[in-house]
Symmetry: C2
Subunit: 336 residues, 2 copies
């Protein structure tokens, strides 16, 4: 690979001039030189050494994405369509803005901090981070951060979040179930924090408004840990005997549950209705096609990058953005 210095030597001019031409500061260079240099740039197929440039400019042109993932829950988090979509959308938008995309998956905050510091990452995007985790990173990393799907309390710290109307989603779906005559509804998730908690809140709200007394037995928190889901599924099956509908926190679980119930001889939506959340790529091609809450994951990623870019441009801190949800009615919920 040719260097600026070498090119400068060939032409017997200074590196500054070459550098200026490279950066299009042609106003400071005579037309003749510009042409000479450009010809040579072409000829030698000059490619800048980004490490050198970064070092000189004290930046990196890297947008980092840190996925805070626990191996117990996700053997391979990117294989999950939700995270996969997010990764793809963010990479695309980052590239569009002439930055580079570096992915780092870890369940160790200090590892993530070391990574962003070492690389001098220009901006960071992270998903589902809670208060303590965010504070730790913030303490050591001073450049722009955009959180996705975070519900860390806003009063304690100042951050930019791109989220979803999770509570609204929980609410409209539950309302829909109720309107279809369901009163005994189970809520299925794998934790009660952040996003899932808000969906649950929406669920509770709709249930309350309908004057239904919610039996805590019907809140089923299944274990995502491999080897333990079998037990959880028995619990789900049991619940399916006493409810008429199950609202799952994600399409993944909705599919798993549907599958499990079929395997045990029940029919969906004949015996029990199932609703999901996300509207992932399989929601429409499974059978029964899933009635679910739609969210635009690609947009989530794109918006996150847009916010980051605005911050990088030095604009005033952007506001949070809460993306809307909508219900997608398909075939997994029946009218009673």
């Amino acid at each position: 690979m040719v260097t600026i210095k070498e090119l400068a030597n060939i032409l017997g001019i200074s590196t500054t001039t070459v550098s200026n031409v490279i950066h299009g500061k042609t106003s400071e260079v005579s037309l003749a030189t510009v042409e000479k240099v450009q010809k040579l740039l072409e000829e030698y197929d000059y490619t800048p050494n980004i490490n050198a440039r970064n070092l000189a400019q004290n930046r990196s042109k890297i947008i980092g994405m840190a996925l805070f993932s626990n191996e117990d829950k996700y053997k391979n988090i990117v294989a999950d369509p939700f995270f996969g979509s997010l990764v793809g959308a963010i990479e695309k938008e980052v590239r569009k803005n002439n930055y580079f995309f570096m992915l780092y998956v870890s369940d160790d905050i200090s590892e993530i901090i070391r990574y962003v510091s070492s690389w001098n990452v220009d901006g960071l995007i992270t998903v589902g981070m809670n208060r303590d985790e965010y504070l730790k990173i913030r303490g050591r990393y001073k450049k722009p951060i955009v959180l996705i799907d975070s519900y860390a309390p806003k009063d304690i710290m100042d951050y930019v979040n791109v989220g979803l109307d999770d509570e609204g989603g929980g609410y409209i779906m539950t309302k829909y179930l109720i309107e279809n005559g369901h009163r005994e509804i189970a809520f299925i998730c794998d934790n009660l924090e952040g996003v899932d908690y808000m969906r649950y809140r929406g669920f509770k709200k709709a249930v309350g408004e309908a004057g239904i007394v919610f039996d805590k037995k019907n809140l089923i928190i299944i274990s995502p840990v491999e080897g333990e889901t079998a037990v959880s599924m028995s619990e789900v099956y049991e619940a399916a005997q006493r409810v008429t509908a199950m609202f799952c926190c994600s399409d993944n679980y909705a599919l798993q549950v549907t599958n499990e119930l079929f395997a045990r001889g029940m029919d969906v939506p004949g015996d029990v209705s199932i609703a999901g959340f996300d509207d992932n790529i399989f929601a429409k091609v499974c059978r029964p096609a899933l009635t679910t809450v739609y969210q635009d994951v690609d947009r989530k990623g794109t918006v996150a990058v847009e916010k980051l870019m605005a911050m990088l441009r030095g604009e005033e801190n952007p506001k949070d953005e809460i993306l809307p949800v909508k219900i997608v009615v398909r075939d997994s919920v029946r009218k009673l």
Copy 2:
């Protein structure tokens, strides 16, 4: 962020010594100094500037993954479970080896070349690349490359490939269909190159061995371009009238096709049997659960990184690795 120089100044010693301690070359440093330095390293929470290190060492510690993707076919390629799994598995293995993972999606080879050159990427992994594309990159990038799922001719160039016994997969599944009494079988894919072509070859082989005359009408190449798949699906439906089984080149298509047929009032596997390929995360939770050809995508990614690391260590060029396939019998194929 503290620099080595600053730490050296504080202690009134040279940067060399600090650097030596950092790199554990403690044999060259007195115990007393080692301890002094280590204490300071801790205290100031020293984090190396990777850009500087890379510049000095003429490397990058980055493993690049280039996805050669066309927007027509994939709006978001990482959202596809196959590519998502690959990305996740590769990132994980890269991290395990103390490298960093940079993803670059593009349909422009020269852009990819510019990217790897600029960053001085230490090793590159790329998927489904053909002969010309590979040659272009090879011409300008001299560091290790591992291809995944490539069928570029081996005689022309020297490269390392991690692939799958695609032909075998096509063969065993077709044989299974035939054993179950199917003789009119359609083959469905979206191209006839590389991986898909080999699966088709396996298909043809099994069909031939059974003495079945294959009617080219039953080779259906559907268009992946959005807006054109509807037309393709009509063709599929038409074919479903005259065949008893359809072998789809991917689970994605198998699900889409199944769904389409159901939508048009047919039953799977009642009216027509469907087989897939990949055994992706949804194959087992859809209904009917998909009879398909299993491949270990995570392993593909892991092995690719392992090969790259071996090359980086300067070991003799590793040999290609062809991962095995196996059939997974579920409910989408029925015995005639």
